[in-house]
């Protein structure tokens, strides 16, 4: 493929400046430079200003073609303006990258003017030569573009269609125009930096879900940015911070705290920091918790200094407040549960020891009751204290006993935490009794635990078989009271204890939720 075909360049397509030969005066140059500066002041894009500067050279220097190159974000020289060169030529130059950029590279790297009278003979131009020849460019020279603080920010390049050196006039002209180019590029750079900083701040505020504001003391006005307006439920970014406005905006309970924070922040001898959490009214009448941080700007010194403004940002605190409230409820609930558990243990201890004839037996009974209560708690913790399944309650309660001697049948029935605890404790009493006096004391004795659902009712039976005959104790102990009173109360049903010939039978009937 031929070079021109590849680049889409036709020799005839090259438009070299035709405005040559007229007499150039210092006034012409000054007028042209003034025009460029005006463009710059008017805030024209840097490319437009640079293109204008290039045209000035082309207007003033006979048969010259100008190209201005600047550094891109990666530090590579790229064509910023070349109004009379084919775009394909500029693209090809740019594609060469940091190296092989001929006199442009040399000027930018050294900060010195690089003159090439004959591009065909200069190895610096080797990479560009074929392209340049194609459009009839024979000589070139480059002038570095240097800012006032001494940074090289680009190169001002000029091509000639004949092998020649720049004239002293051309050298001065480009040197002068390079200063204007440096101004344009420098301004563009600082604008880019400011835009990036604004963008960074914007993204950071967005990411932090914060809105910014500024309150000025002189007019008692607070200006909110868009995000702050949304946070404060305002339709206008200008807010008059008078009593009526504050009363409308801030929750009555939080207004004194807000004024207190303001007073502290604007104190002449304070640190000028403002921070307050308050509720603000939203457009729909609901309240939103916000946390506001600000910094006071003062005028004057020491005790005489006066607050001028407070600038700051606010953040939605609603989720944190909800989490705090949730935490408080959890702690409250935990406290309630712990108190209940302690009261239950107190009850067990009181009753276990109340009628005790023998301290050793009472100690054992008390211990095993507390352990069985703890086991039931474990079961409930697994389900986050939402409840427990009856089958699991039974399995867990009889586990410390001879589990193999139990015949357990029944469907899945969900119990509330209180019901699960009461049934666990009742089953513990029944199993303890069975292993001391009932079916679990004989070799062949078994316990049948069966339950079924009938229309809205749970029927539960504990039946010992093959044990010794048991009799109702003369004194009602903890177990029988627990089953006949506590359990039936918790279940809202009835319980019946039968002292049979093969051991205890316990029948429970309770309504199902």
């Amino acid at each position: 493929m031929s070079l021109d075909g590849e680049l889409g360049i036709e020799s005839s397509a090259v438009a070299l400046p035709a405005r040559q030969g007229s007499r150039v005066t210092a006034e012409t140059v000054l007028a042209a430079q003034k025009r460029s500066l005006e463009l710059l002041v008017q805030g024209a894009p840097v490319e437009a200003v640079l293109a204008d500067l290039a045209r000035v050279v082309e207007d003033c220097a006979p048969r010259a073609v100008a190209a201005i190159l600047t550094f891109d974000a990666r530090g590579c020289l790229r064509t910023a303006a070349a109004p009379s060169l084919p775009a394909a030529f500029s693209s090809a130059i740019d594609a060469l990258g940091a190296t092989d950029l001929g006199g442009f590279g040399v000027a930018a790297a050294t900060g010195l003017t690089a003159v090439t009278q004959d591009m065909a003979a200069d190895p610096n131009w080797a990479a560009i030569r074929p392209l340049a020849q194609l459009i009839g460019l024979k000589a070139a020279w480059s002038h570095p573009i240097v800012t006032r603080d001494g940074r090289v920010v680009g190169a001002f390049g000029t091509y000639f269609r004949e092998k020649r050196r720049p004239s002293p006039f051309e050298l001065r002209l480009v040197e002068t125009l390079s200063q204007t180019a440096a101004l344009a590029i420098g301004r563009h750079e600082s604008e880019a930096i400011m835009a990036r900083q604004r963008h960074t701040l914007d993204l950071a505020m967005e990411a932090a879900e914060m809105g910014s504001w500024r309150y000025t003391v002189a007019d008692n006005i607070c200006l909110y940015d868009e995000r702050a307006q949304r946070l404060y439920g305002l339709t206008d970014g200008r807010f008059l911070h008078d009593e009526a406005g504050v009363t409308r905006l801030i929750h009555a309970d939080d207004i004194p705290r807000m004024w207190e924070a303001v007073a502290k922040a604007v104190h002449p001898l304070g640190d000028g920091r403002y921070n307050v959490d308050y509720r603000v009214r939203q457009l729909d009448g609901s309240w939103r918790w916000l946390s506001a941080w600000g910094l006071v700007e003062f005028e004057g010194e020491g005790a005489a200094r006066q607050p001028v403004a407070i600038t700051g940002a606010s953040r939605d605190l609603t989720s944190a407040k909800l989490a705090e409230e949730h935490q408080r409820l959890l702690v409250n609930e935990l406290n309630h549960r712990v108190k209940n558990t302690l009261a239950t243990i107190q009850s067990i201890a009181y009753q276990s020891l109340r009628n005790a004839d023998e301290i050793q037996a009472a100690r054992q009974a008390l211990e095993s009751r507390i352990v069985s209560l703890a086991r039931a708690h474990d079961l409930l913790t697994v389900q986050n204290w939402s409840g427990a399944d009856l089958a699991e309650v039974v399995a867990r309660a009889i586990e410390p006993f001879s589990a193999a001697r139990f015949d357990i049948t029944g469907p899945s029935v969900q119990l509330s935490p209180k019901q699960a605890l009461a049934l666990s404790m009742a089953l513990h009493e029944l199993a303890t009794n069975a292993s001391k006096y009932g079916a679990l004391t004989t070799a062949a004795g078994r316990v049948e635990v069966a339950w079924r659902r009938e229309v809205g009712t749970l029927s539960f039976t504990w039946r010992e078989r093959g044990g010794h005959p048991v009799e109702r104790p003369t004194r009602r102990g903890f177990g029988s009271r627990m089953i006949e009173h506590a359990l039936s109360r918790e279940l809202g049903g009835t319980t019946r204890l039968i002292y049979g010939s093969e051991g205890v039978v316990c029948e429970i009937a309770a309504p199902l939720a």
Partner: protein, 139 residues
């Protein structure tokens, strides 16, 4: 009249107890184990638990129709404040005390000044409470 149940050891009883008359008490408590404890404590102090209610509807019914000298009411009945029971008792002139697991601030509103037992409490606390309430009892 004997206040001592012969089957119970006279462990921590004090002479002042002897001077109290046998009271018929309504107990409103949703935790069955705690209800059993208070029943035992009251029995050990020589009083009679006329009724134990563990639910709001049951408590309101008994408070409306029962005959009691005094009531002990758990502030919280299955997550519901038991103040309606207290209001009913107040309207009938039956003195009452609250039992609460929520600490000293557990009773609020119009009943904040009522006699209160913080759970868990001792037998001696219960005795003191009943003794303090004695002047309020109809003779």
């Amino acid at each position: 009249m004997t206040l001592r149940n012969p089957s119970h050891p006279a462990d921590d009883r004090e002479p002042e107890q002897q001077t109290m008359k046998r009271l018929r008490i309504l107990l409103v408590e949703d935790e069955s184990m705690v209800a059993m404890l208070i029943e035992d404590m009251l029995a050990d102090l020589g009083h009679e638990v006329g009724a134990t209610a563990s639910h709001m509807s049951e408590a309101l019914e008994v408070a409306r129709t029962g005959s009691f000298d005094l009531a002990i009411i758990d502030v919280n009945l299955d997550g519901e404040p038991s103040y309606p029971v207290a209001e009913l008792l107040a309207s009938r002139g039956i003195p009452f005390a609250f039992a609460t697991g929520y600490g000293p601030g557990g009773v609020d509103g119009t009943f904040a000044g009522s006699p209160t037992l913080a759970k868990p409490f001792l037998l001696a606390d219960l005795r003191r409470l009943l003794s303090d309430m004695q002047p309020a009892l109809p003779s």
